[in-house]
Chain length 237, copies 2
Amino acid sequence: MPGRGEHTRQLIIDSALRLFRERGYAQTTMRAVASEAGVSVGNAYYYFDSKEHLVQEFYDRLQAEHRTAAEPVLRQESDFGPRLHGVLTAWLDVARPYHAFAAKFFKVAAEPDSPLSPFSAASSAPRDAAVGLLREVLEGSTAKVDADLRAELPELLWLVELGVVLYWVHDSSPEQARTRLLIDRAVPLVNRLVGLSRLRVLRSVSRDIVSLSRALRGGTAEALGRAEGSADPDRRR
Amino acid sequence: MPGRGEHTRQLIIDSALRLFRERGYAQTTMRAVASEAGVSVGNAYYYFDSKEHLVQEFYDRLQAEHRTAAEPVLRQESDFGPRLHGVLTAWLDVARPYHAFAAKFFKVAAEPDSPLSPFSAASSAPRDAAVGLLREVLEGSTAKVDADLRAELPELLWLVELGVVLYWVHDSSPEQARTRLLIDRAVPLVNRLVGLSRLRVLRSVSRDIVSLSRALRGGTAEALGRAEGSADPDRRR
DNA sequence: GTCTATAACACGATAGAC
DNA sequence: GTCTATCGTGTTATAGAC
């Protein structure tokens, strides 16, 4: 059963995301969100614990759109480099309309305890989806990679993607052209490194990277096991 | 001339930093800061444009402490790896008392337009100091590096340091032991890569990295030239 | 369980008098 | 430079209606 309140919930989300896009995050008041949705403030808080929780929905939608946009590339390309390039620029295309908005609420996602943090338990679904997409980039390609490294590579590529997003958020160039340039430069580098990973001289480097990656994930796993991220600004409220 | 209000300014900063450490960032109200300093709220805002600006001072102090703590390592070590390791762990030692505090206001630093962003114009002094410290790590070492890469390396090392800080902020392990592990793993890798950078097979990789680094700095330079970072949450106020 | 209406609270920030 | 008073906001509380 779709639930009676599901409609109300959608109304609130829709008006929130629209207002966020039109006027920015900070300038959108909860009163305005409620009023636009035709509900009371109290009702909005009945469905969403805080203003920040309204943004979680945005993540999910963006991730879904990214997958759709990446689909053609995954179907048509078989070289690792172009696949990665296509998927990263697909993200750029999908995210472009939200650039100004994203820059504003980005700080919310940066807080370690926030459920919006990409490392939080609450974000595990979109994170797994993103890593999965990058795994497809690799597995569907003809690239030959050292076996140990192959297992870690999707997570490492996700870190690359995070770096791109971080740069993108700070990128004030028109149409975020600089981020495109960054991708154009970074992808061949990654591609070359992956290709060289089986060279004898680089075996030790490769092992170092695998070990580093596992150390990193250790932290992520621990973060996942941690108390449910519940925004708490210190723990005042 | 030390300025008449300099005393008041210091009073405010001192009480702010003490309260931040004792009760956290969010839980410290501007009213409390002003009251502790024995001034009015309005007066506190006369000296500091916003609560966030109070944290800038913390940056400067931390950076100064880091340099002091790194001094012995820079004097005694000559190998690149140990020098880098020593400087990074020195940061960890210096920053440890502020871990809880840092995790809380970290989001403030993450906002692109915030003066507290490590990429902002307002942060250029601490940033240059940090890059300079890493340049000393390299220049004072016996490491032999490709000339083009050598020029870019301090900035790249600064990115590594940023990554470590990012991890540290999210690190909830006791005494941030995981971050230490991360450094133990990452430094040998960086060291090895730097050492291999002159190998013939890696020339193209090396060139890719230099080119990537320049693309990155292009963005930073642009950010530097941008309108003075003035916090503005959207531009409401 | 879903929802309204309205008031109240605490906080960051500002206005304007002195 | 300093103050007091006040505003706008996120969030909570209350008291109920369907």
